[in-house]
Symmetry: D2
Subunit: 363 residues, 4 copies
């Protein structure tokens, strides 16, 4: 449903980059879930640009829970979280009203919204809208943790530099969730930062790959047609601006394997069924098998760059050029990580509520 | 919604591999769309195993349109297409009731459906269920063609052998749609077939990558959050058994590019806005830009293989081994291709009906 | 979603009166629910015309469960129930292709489906489509009974004759569910039948009111905005052809009461909260309070009558007259009763599955 | 979907009576619809208590459009309207935390939300939540008017006093929409007010019936199963607190008619099909026939009254009594009228957008 994701637990996003506020409405969370406002702030801080790697725009993201929380817990009714827009310098963006920025949604939004969209700062397409998603996701992430389900992501690749692989999900997820720049190998993280700064100095930008792991999910969650775990997660993940690919388990690599290699053999371990390998990323037939859910998202380089690029003036339908003038990030991979976690948490809460009912998360 | 995909145009799948019948209900197609039964048969034949490359199970897929079509055209009411199951040899599958086949949904289905699922031949998880999707998709594909929107896929990689890239979408889509083994370079296709037969002779299987292109889509279709074109397509595509990755445009490769490379510059061409490159696969901000929509799906090797594999007897929770006894395919990539096209067509019909209304496709 | 009702448990209807088959797909019922085929037949027999009160069309409604049931229990996957059309005499309806029958959907269907609808026998608008609903509902009714939730309806009024009120829900629901002509007072039932036969002899028809009671529903089910119990039930009920009004508890009569009269005072009884009266029909704020859910549906007289009526020839846009020629019922109230029960059961299963999860009904 | 109504055009409500704010998110309205802020204020003023007939609580309802409107027009993205809560005196309601008010949702909310709901002033069940609906509805009403579709309601009955019937829809709808106390016959309106004040003086309350007419709807809108116009409207209408019955056309009265009486004969008039009578309220087979859509809603007397009533202390599960102490209305019928219009407009926008596409309303 358009700007809403989810069935039993749903999230609706609203807002424009330079409008009054952005925000989210989460519906379907059971009553009695503790809402940790410090954790929401923490998650927002992970998304926020915080140093030379990001846009100099300084958002404090002071959010307001307008409804759905009472005495520190969810009431079971819709939670509206509002994040007022403060530091907006629309003047920077004036020229972009009709000059489509390559790689951005200016042109497609112009066609879709027939010229009536709020073009300032990307409007409803702005990455800023993900702040609402992060605030909403924080409640979901926290609720899942209390049920023993943990989500963590690292920057598997950025600017051509690769991080090492996960070696101990439980421990590393904990560590990653405290890091502003989420890598498993900090030395590689420093190399990535250099690549980002180097791109910045050229007026250019870089992309990367985010790898996510979820542990603790019970087996038997998901549907075969069409609400597979992969289908629902990717549905949500692809709306994170800049994500152009999603793969589960061994993903595209599995396409080059033999069946005898790719199949994850089952074994019993402490009376539980486990698999010896995890090429299927914790999902068989669209349904969780209780092994870690593992997936990767391809993030394209930030489209706003300082270099001159060819484009079209949409009002006059004339070829022209454009050069990024507004504040922008040379890389958003490190900031997008927490958005990936948030979408993941919201989708999993939805699936769990469908299976176990409204109150399961709160119990 | 579980076994239903789509909003304005939706498809619901039902059936088990060894039950009475499988089928699909399509709802939301406008009244007056011509239904070409030969084309449905043609599409089903592309999915059907047809030679040494596939399972020897011979399904004729004689389908019955139970409702929603009158005098050769859609009535605007739900179309139920039923495909009776005929050649089912359940005895082959008896042993698999509780011995989970690695890489299959036997275990996850067992947990999800609490032991009550129809385990015969994979039951509701069987690839056979996609026949309903193909029949439904055929109506959608045909309707889109009449509006100038064409979908075609080729086997970009199979068993480690790569096909060449698209060079002329319009012409090649036409050719591909007639081929049983859809490659652009037939010599490479022969190599792929050898790789499949070689895997078969080892009691093993191979996977591959399917690349799809859609031309003729108008700009402005899709939603920013969450019903992006990428999100809706991947939602549907991931329910095709064996698909473990979906990427759009340059996909995972874009994550290694610089912004100046990845951005598709806009130009005017015959009074229309086009892009010079198409790294974004025809989609910006989740919305079509009228360039070809291009995506790739990673298909894992068929999990049923002739080799002995470790697994668990679910009833007794004991380690055991299993060796594929039933009929199976050493590769499903060439058969999955038409399923990918079908899902694509159904999702695009849904998006178009949302934008232009119920009757647009029929006009 | 158009021809689908429900979220966690949904039902989709398909079929035309004179097409190949009609049917229903039920999705979301947990795995392991016993499916009593005799009960399905019993329920279909209550809907079927059976004597002089109804159309002479004799449908045996031999239904086929195409999927979703295995070894006598639900598998948890979509259940497709098909009811082939057999005794169809399309010739009777030829003239109605373009001559709109007053009170019917011929004209509105003609506009909506742009002349492409299957007009024979009402097509997709035919009351016959409710047979699929009754078959689907039978599974839901039976599942609810096993959880202690019972649904029963009586003909509160028909042809101007009123039945007495419920006096003991539990006992009377049992009795009603065995009756072909469901009244609490059989003497009044005989009067109603006379009124029906009298209308028939005049080439006319009568309507009535169906009153339904549900006992055993736990408190706390339903949503305040917008998925109230009243809202969801009425959403489903109004699609039963001929229903033009739905009221809960004291319904329209409550609008003439004082607050002090209309309020149902709470009391404790055996450690449970009950109300002294039930003017609110078991629902406060859209949510069940564990008292009997009571509602009434107004059923209009069957629109097909033997008398000549003014109408329009849609093809030529000319005034003309029409006189019912096909088989028809002088009254459908007694047949609609079991459809009301079926819709009720499906909606309640949906609400319960949302609250308690997929498997609750099956446990 | 729980707190969301609609498909192509949807509205989500959030907020608690004594929380920070209440509000609504409307999604799916096409881009370019003029947003008349004065009209929103006007509509809110019709809902607002304004004189001795209502609660002395004085809400100014200063609303904020947080998103989705730019330069006076819809942008096509979600519109979030926030209405801060200001004049809240929670102390008044302290005692009601566990003492369930008869006729209210205190008990059902307590069970549903497991004691975690915000009980102050009815919380999420408060009639105040309808202010968000009215603000959202104002945009929809205004958009429909520009397409020639007009909605108007009058108080058909209140406190036992009946208004006269509509005689000229077009003219009377205009007049009603300006009136604070919407009756066609002002003399009867004065009698109603007396009845309200008389009830108030007794510490009691009265209910009534609201009758609504919609003119200008094109024929062919709605679905046969299950998204009938009646089904969708009633789904929305029943979530307006206090509504216990909805009937279309002649409603419950039609159940006593003969078919020859109830059938609305078709005629041509200026090349258009019309009906001679309108017992079916503009809807045949769930689909509009272009005649006025007419329906009535039964509104129960306000449950909060000054009289002592029996009830239960939920924490201690003991019988007790309660007497309304907070501010309350002796009647809400006159205030509910604009909520009925709002729900109607939102549902019709949804149906029209489904039929004609996203942009139709904006064109």
């Amino acid at each position: 449903m358009r700007n809403t994701l989810g069935n039993a637990v749903s999230v609706t996003l609203f807002g424009e980059s330079h409008g009054k506020a952005i925000g989210a409405v989460i519906d379907g969370l059971g009553a009695g879930i503790e809402v940790n406002e410090d954790f929401i702030s923490h998650q927002l801080s992970l998304r926020r640009p915080s140093d030379a790697l990001s846009t100099p725009r300084r958002e404090q993201d002071p959010y307001i829970i307008e409804s759905g929380v009472f005495q520190g817990r969810t009431t079971g009714t819709p939670i509206c979280i509002l994040i007022p827009n403060e530091d907006t310098r629309s003047a920077d963006y004036g020229a972009m009203a009709v000059t489509a920025r390559p790689g951005h949604a200016d042109y497609t939004g112009y066609v879709k919204y027939r010229g009536f969209g709020d073009y300032r700062g990307g409007g409803h397409f702005s990455g800023r809208i993900t702040a609402g998603l992060v605030a909403a996701g924080a409640i979901a992430i926290d609720a899942l943790r209390k049920k023993g389900i943990f989500i963590g992501s690292h920057i598997a690749q950025c600017g051509g530099i690769s991080d090492r692989a996960f070696s101990d999900y439980a421990e590393e997820i904990n560590i990653l969730n405290e890091k502003q720049f989420a890598v498993l190998d900090d030395a590689m993280g420093e190399e990535m930062k250099k690549a980002i700064l180097s791109a910045r100095s050229e007026g250019d930008s870089v992309g990367g790959v985010i790898e996510t792991a979820v542990i603790g999910m019970p087996a038997g969650i998901g549907e075969p047609w069409f609400d597979t775990v992969e289908g629902l997660l990717s549905h949500g993940l692809f709306s994170i601006p800049a994500i152009k690919g999603v793969e589960f388990g061994s993903g595209f690599d599995i396409s080059g394997m033999k069946g005898s290699q790719a199949n994850d053999c089952f074994r019993t371990e402490n009376g539980k069924v486990v698999t010896k390998t995890n090429h299927n990323g914790g999902i068989n037939g669209g349904i969780t098998n209780s092994m870690p859910i593992v997936f990767r998202c391809a993030v394209k380089p930030t489209p706003t760059i300082g270099k001159e690029q060819e484009t079209v003036n949409l009002a006059e339908m004339e070829n022209t050029t454009i050069k990024g003038a507004g504040r922008h990030d040379p890389c958003i991979v490190h900031r997008a990580r927490v958005v990936v976690d948030s979408v993941t948490a919201l989708v999993l809460c939805d699936l769990l509520a469908q299976k176990f009912g409204t109150d399961w998360l709160a119990e």
